[in-house]
């Protein structure tokens, strides 16, 4: 039986890695993947807490996170596709017209 903190720290690290991915990648698809990674890190904490507090709420929360994540991925990918059609690129740097 692992101490709770192990799981929390693990998910914290994974989350941080996901953040890095979101920040540094120049490929929107990978950025989206990094977001999924962050979401899963959070899911891990949820499950760990639900296990250690002995309540199902955590798992229910994960369930909903999955639903939202799926929706987010679908819409995000659709957006990416239409953007790619517009400007043959996935680099967020090429999508900076929305400023000033």
């Amino acid at each position: 039986m692992m101490p709770l903190n192990y799981y929390l720290i693990l998910s914290a690290v994974v989350f941080a890695i996901g953040v890095v991915g979101v920040l540094i990648r120049r490929n929107l698809i990978v950025v989206l993947m990094s977001i999924e990674l962050m979401l899963n890190a959070v899911n891990l904490t949820f499950i760990a807490f639900s296990r250690y507090l002995g309540s199902m709420v955590g798992q229910v929360a994960v369930f909903f996170v999955m639903a939202v994540a799926a929706a987010e991925a679908v819409v995000g990918l659709a957006i990416i596709i239409s953007v790619f059609r517009q400007r043959q690129s996935l680099d967020p740097q090429d999508m900076q017209i929305l400023k000033w």
């Binding site: 920040l23 967020p92 900076q96 017209i97 000033w100």
Partner: protein, 641 residues
């Protein structure tokens, strides 16, 4: 004071009396052109006729101690302060209604002929109807605020109509003058209303409703009432052209003559009198104000009369005589004889309207010439005008058994019987002067041989029936309208009976009928002297051209130049004001205010120039910002725990 114990009845026909002219005005405003000038004018007259019929109907059904109310909706409803948009008609209002709609009707008909040649006659009728609407609102409103709305509305219409021929700048200036001078009065009026409301509110009563006010005035302390009435009276002086604010009325003659007849003789200028009468329960509690009003009234009457003596412009004479007559009315008000004041308003409406319309017809015949020195001998050319004019002149002069005779004598007798001998004396002398200048006018215009140039003489003509008919009606009115208020020693006054429910009539000592008769005879004597002097100077020796009057002395010049009041006002008020305004317009506004605004704008722009660099449009930069914020929060919480 009296507490009004009028029996109130709902009567939702009333709203249509003011509404019809408004609707017709709107209609003409938008579709008048399509309708055509003639039809639009006729429509306007029809509107007046309709509301006159309604008014007469209401008047017919109205018991003298009754009141009709018509609540349309609640206008202002904040907390305990409620103001209704409601109309009321009691004996006083009924009289005013008849004057406004009736005389207004006649004057509309007259205008059909008078404005016939004018291109803008539609605009004219629109304004006129609008004016009638506001005037009716003024007299029918059941609370002070509604009265004020009407008050301002008629001011606006007077401005529009005085400046009706705006292409001539002098007319526009005259309109501005009327408007601005009225502003001064309205300022006082408004302050008076505020003071009244706040004072009553301090007593816990939130109302502007006349009936309510009458119930609660007893709460106020005499000083407060004095102040309130004083402020309200300032408003009255503005609207009704009393000293010191009378200067606008003579200039207002720049407007078309029917306007002068309707607005500046019959109705609007009497709004002040109406207001004081409507609020008699306040004024009668403020003796100091009353005496002030009386004195100002008398002074105005006298002063204006002296000016009228020497004017050569036919309308100017009438204008000053109007001021003077208004002075009479306020004299009566000041004596607390509100009934007499309203009575004089009533009669004066008839004969002054008749005079103005007659002068209008003369001007129409002389096509636009207003200088009496260029007239004369018109009697032959326009008999109807002459006879009606003569009747009206006799009425205003107070010849026996004419309207003016009764109303003026009533006022003078009130003064006498109150023992205010000085006021009475002034009144009598003014009556004499009135007779003089009016007959001077008659002689100069209608008698002797014509001094106009050949071309003008060529097309001298009597006015069409549409113009003379109202003259005749008004002339009849200016005789018989007075008979309603005959003194006791004749068949007695129906008038006081009619208004008795509204005003507590200050008891004139009817026991001494002989004294009254004596006083009357005295007045008549003075009037006769005035007429005789006028005859000596202008009637008999009519071959002497009027020009050589100028040779007379300083007094004459003073009178002719209206005591330089305008110049003095110009010096004291207008010039400094314009100077200050110019300073603000040319220094403060462009430099200080615009500078501030532009400075702020420039500042913002500068900052934006710097900060908009933050918005790179790159999502990941924003994400980085999010991250930084999150870290800051985390750091905070960690420092906490």
């Amino acid at each position: 004071m009296v507490t009004s114990n009028l029996t109130t009845a709902d009567y939702d026909l009333l709203r249509w009396i003011p509404l019809i002219p408004l609707l017709v005005a709107a209609f003409n405003l938008f579709w008048g052109r399509a309708l055509g000038r003639k039809a639009a004018g006729v429509l306007a007259c029809a509107a007046l006729g309709a509301s006159f019929a309604l008014a007469f109907f209401a008047f017919w059904q109205l018991p003298s101690n009754g009141m009709f109310r018509d609540l349309i909706y609640t206008w202002i409803d904040s907390g305990s302060f409620k103001v209704n948009l409601a109309f009321q008609v009691d004996a006083l209002t009924a009289v005013m209604l008849l004057i406004i709609t009736g005389i207004g009707f006649l004057i509309h008909i007259y205008s059909l002929g008078y404005m016939d040649h004018d291109e803008d006659s539609i605009r004219f009728f629109v304004y006129l109807n609008l004016f009638v609407f506001f005037m009716l609102t003024l007299v029918m409103g059941d609370n002070l605020l509604l009265l004020f709305v009407g008050w301002e509305g008629v001011g606006l219409c007077s401005y529009l109509l005085v400046g009706f021929w705006y292409r001539d700048p002098s007319n526009a200036i005259a309109g501005n003058k009327a408007f601005i001078v009225n502003r001064v009065g309205d300022w006082g009026f408004l302050l008076g209303i505020f003071l009244l409301v706040t004072e009553l509110a301090r007593q816990g009563v939130w109302t502007l409703d006349f009936v309510e006010l009458q119930k609660h005035t007893s709460m106020l302390s005499p000083q407060v009432i004095g102040l309130i009435t004083l402020l309200l009276f300032i408003g009255a002086t503005g609207k009704s052209a009393q000293i010191p604010l009378f200067v606008w009325l003579p200039d207002a003659m720049a407007g078309p003559t029917p306007v002068s007849a309707l607005i500046h003789a019959a109705t609007m200028v009497t709004a002040g009198v109406y207001m004081t009468a409507r609020l008699h329960f306040l004024f009668s509690l403020a003796p100091a104000t009353l005496s002030l009003i009386a004195w100002i009234g008398a002074a105005t009457a006298f002063f204006a009369a002296t000016i009228a003596l020497t004017q050569n412009d036919i309308k100017k004479v009438l204008a000053y005589s109007t001021v003077s007559q208004l002075g009479y009315m306020f004299l009566a008000v000041g004596l607390g004889a509100f009934g007499a004041a309203i009575f004089h308003v009533f009669t004066h409406a008839f004969f002054k309207a008749c005079l103005f319309l007659g002068s209008g017809s003369v001007i129409h015949a002389m096509d636009g010439e207003q200088d009496m020195r260029k007239m004369g001998g018109l009697k032959a050319h326009m008999p109807t005008t002459y006879w009606t004019y003569l009747i009206a002149t006799l009425a205003i002069a107070g010849a026996p058994l004419t309207a003016g005779f009764f109303s003026k004598d009533l006022i003078l007798w009130q003064a006498f019987s109150h023992g205010a001998m000085a006021l009475w004396a002034i009144g009598v002398i003014t009556a004499g002067m009135t007779a003089f200048y009016m007959f001077r006018q008659v002689f100069m215009v209608f008698h002797g041989e014509c001094r106009a140039d050949a071309h003008a003489q060529a097309h001298l003509h009597e006015s069409p029936a549409v113009m003379t008919l109202p003259l005749i009606v008004l002339a009849i009115g200016s005789i018989f309208s007075g008979w309603l208020g005959a003194p006791e020693y004749l068949w007695g006054s129906r008038w006081d009976v009619w208004l008795s429910a509204i005003f507590a009539q200050p008891e004139a000592h009817h026991d001494s009928a002989t004294a009254e008769i004596v006083v009357t005879l005295l007045t008549l004597g003075v009037v006769a002297i005035g007429i005789y002097l006028a005859y000596l100077k202008y009637g008999r020796a009519s071959e002497r051209s009027a020009q050589q009057d100028q040779s007379d002395g300083l007094f004459y010049r003073l009178s002719l130049d209206k005591y330089y009041v305008d110049e003095i006002y110009d010096l004291i008020f207008v010039r400094p004001f314009t100077a200050v305004s110019r300073f603000f317009a040319e220094i403060i506004d462009p430099w200080v205010i615009d500078g501030t605004v532009n400075g702020v704008a420039a500042l913002t722009r500068g900052f934006s120039q710097v900060w908009r660099g933050v918005q790179t449009g790159n999502v990941q930069h924003y994400a980085m910002g999010l991250l930084v914020g999150t870290l800051a929060l985390l750091a905070y919480y960690l420092s906490q725990s």
